[in-house]
């Protein structure tokens, strides 16, 4: 397996903008350019999961209490005692399984994501590009004990009020100490929490893009006949501007299209014909610009933007 994903060269501070893109080279040698999940998205995913766990716990409690009452009403006191024990065991083991098993089981599934992460379009992956092993999933989730439950314990302890001053200070110290674990993700570039650190994993975005139509198929072919751009007119822009134009065309917002069309007309000195719509003009210009830039690409020249005059 390749290890390139793990040790992407760290940009010098201030040299490159902080970006979510990370190099991730597959064994076939292609860089997949993964995006790591932002702290906010992951916090949201975790809160959703916590909500699901609490709901399941409440449901489990209600279910055991209900079953206890329902069956207990039938039998004698002896039976009722035995039932109470059984229900207690079911509840204790169920709660244990929920607290420790929820994350592990969902992350071992093919999608490698808990329901909360699925909703936020995230998934867990091994940082070295290898497979996500059960060991790693187990290790990363065992660490939640000190990241979530330990700070919570101290928080509750302070809430319940340690009345004597020394106890209060101890709780405060504990809170600071464990807060360090909880806030660990804020202190590193990849937003790794302690669990990721120990398991060699990270959380990446796993969006499901749909294949949209090629803009050239939609409008380019029929429009091209009416528009003949001179070489210097097509040569006014580079790839960056082409992508902006693509976004504008895909979004189909009339005001933006009008504004962009006017800018381009002014820049290239285009005289609009009478029946010309902004959309048709932009589509035609997009087709011409892309054709020119892609031809240049085939000859090995990648024109970054309009300032890149090579």
């Amino acid at each position: 397996m390749t290890a390139a994903g793990a040790r992407a060269p760290r940009p010098k501070p201030g040299a490159a903008p902080r970006t979510e893109l990370r190099q991730f080279v597959t064994p076939e040698g292609v860089d997949l350019r993964l995006r790591i999940g932002s702290a906010g998205e992951r916090a949201a995913a975790f809160l959703l999961d916590a909500l699901f766990i609490v709901l399941a716990l409440v449901a489990l409690t209600l279910l055991t209490v209900f079953a206890f009452n329902a069956i207990g009403a039938l039998g004698a006191a002896d039976v009722k005692n035995g039932l109470g024990e059984a229900m207690g065991i079911v509840w204790l083991l169920g709660a244990f399984a929920l607290r420790n098993g929820y994350f592990v089981l969902f992350e071992l599934s093919p999608r490698a994501a808990t329901p909360g992460k699925r909703i936020m379009a995230l998934r867990v992956a091994a940082r070295d590009g290898g497979r996500l092993t059960a060991e790693a999933v187990f290790a990363r989730n065992a660490m939640r004990e000190i990241e979530v439950f330990l700070p919570l314990t101290f928080l509750l302890a302070s809430g319940l009020g340690a009345t004597d001053p020394i106890g209060g200070w101890l709780v405060l110290l504990g809170l600071i100490w464990t807060g360090g674990f909880a806030l660990f993700p804020l202190f590193n570039r990849d937003r790794l929490r302690v669990g990721h650190f120990v398991a060699g994993t990270w959380v990446v975005k796993a969006p499901r893009e749909r294949l949209s139509i090629d803009l050239l198929d939609a409008q380019g072919a029929l429009a091209a006949d009416h528009y003949a751009f001179a070489p210097e007119q097509v040569g006014a822009y580079g790839i960056k501007e082409l992508h902006v134009l693509e976004d504008v065309l895909r979004r189909k917002d009339r005001k933006t299209m009008a504004a962009v069309a006017d800018r381009i007309r002014a820049k290239i000195g285009w005289r609009p014909r009478e029946d010309e719509t902004d959309a048709a003009f932009l589509a035609a210009y997009y087709g011409a610009l892309r054709a020119r830039l892609e031809t240049q690409l085939l000859f090995g020249r990648r024109r970054k933007d309009k300032f890149d005059l090579g």
């Binding site: 059984a86 065991i89 004990e145 796993a206 895909r250």
Partner: protein, 333 residues
């Protein structure tokens, strides 16, 4: 068919069908499981994945259609995770866990296990000596929740009754066992997680455990009941203490590697340590289930001291043999 002007358009038209096929197969795998595909479809995925990956390379080099490249990146990523993800079936993996992964991981931790055992043993000895010297130490060493009337002021008869008929309260024992199991398992996972803070909290947890043990022994020894306490405790305690010691060992492994990563980066060392110690913790939870069963049932049913010691001894031999006896490698890897 419209005539396609650009190379990138023709490129897309030629390959689009493959991409869509891969997308629909992946959609089915992710919704249900790999079992929902026929063999033929399953074998098609890696081929389609590689062709999509090469499409991505070509598209990056020749196409300026931004949304197309985004689509190919997302599709390749999804396919990558499927092709290189873990797909051994659950039964095989469970089997390997018991025959190989768990004992090998535990064996690999032998140094840490020894350290963790010594800490517990020394703490137990200290606890014993302290309480034997001055029974006033007992209250300081044993957490209040564990006492249940078993303190230096209790009568010998009461102390003895706890050993043989659960202090007269038979009901609720199974619940107690379930509670103790989940409590102990949580402590063991905690031991592992706390190792990250450079081992120290793990040491404290082990010390506390050992001190409590020693203090109880001193209390019972002062009434001449040490031998009987041993039987009562070790019938499940061998398994339970072993599990907690292993949990501590797993914590030490992580803490030590994070503190002293050697010639690797701290990040890599921590990841390696975490992965190598994780199976031990999974195993520890299983050991604690065994301990809970022994505590909940065997201890209540068997009240003969010698039989209790016999069970304790055989569990010790079984665990030691399972973890540390040299064994042939069962699989090539």
């Amino acid at each position: 068919m419209k005539d396609l002007q650009l190379k990138s358009q023709r490129f897309r038209a030629e390959r689009e069908w493959d991409w869509r096929r891969l997308e629909s197969l992946l959609g089915r795998v992710e919704r249900r499981s790999a079992a929902s595909l026929s063999d033929e479809e399953l074998l098609a995925i890696p081929v389609l994945y590689r062709s999509t990956l090469s499409s991505l390379s070509v598209a990056r080099a020749t196409s300026l259609d931004h949304s197309l490249i985004d689509y190919l990146e997302s599709l390749s990523t999804r396919a990558y995770f499927f092709v290189y993800g873990a797909r051994a079936n659950v039964r095989q993996r469970l089997g390997r866990f018991f025959t190989e992964t768990w004992p090998a991981a535990a064996k690999d931790l032998w140094r840490e296990t020894l350290a963790s055992f010594l800490i517990t043993a020394v703490a137990a000895l200290v606890g014993y000596l302290l309480v034997a010297g001055d029974s006033g130490w007992f209250a300081g060493l044993v957490p209040g929740g564990l006492v249940e009337g078993r303190d230096p002021t209790a009568t010998t008869a009461y102390l003895k009754s706890v050993l043989y008929d659960g202090g007269g309260k038979q009901s609720g024992l199974a619940v107690m066992a379930a509670f103790l199991f989940s409590h102990n398992a949580q402590i063991a996972i905690f031991c592992f997680a706390l190792g990250f803070a450079f081992c120290l909290p793990t040491v404290f947890l082990l010390l506390e455990n050992g001190l409590t043990l020693g203090a109880f022994f001193a209390l019972y020894a002062s009434r001449g009941l040490a031998f009987q306490l041993g039987g009562w405790l070790f019938i499940h305690g061998v398994t339970e203490l072993f599990a907690i010691i292993l949990g501590g060992a797993a914590g030490f492994r992580i803490g030590w590697r994070v503190a002293f990563p050697g010639d690797r980066s701290r990040l890599d060392a921590a990841a390696e340590a975490g992965r190598s110690a994780a199976p031990v913790i999974a195993g520890v939870v299983l050991m604690l289930i065994v301990a809970g069963l022994l505590e909940g049932f065997a201890r209540q049913l068997i009240t003969d001291d010698i039989a209790r010691y016999a069970i304790a001894g055989s569990t010790l031999i079984i665990w030691l043999g399972y973890f540390y006896l040299p064994r042939r490698r069962t699989s090539p890897r």
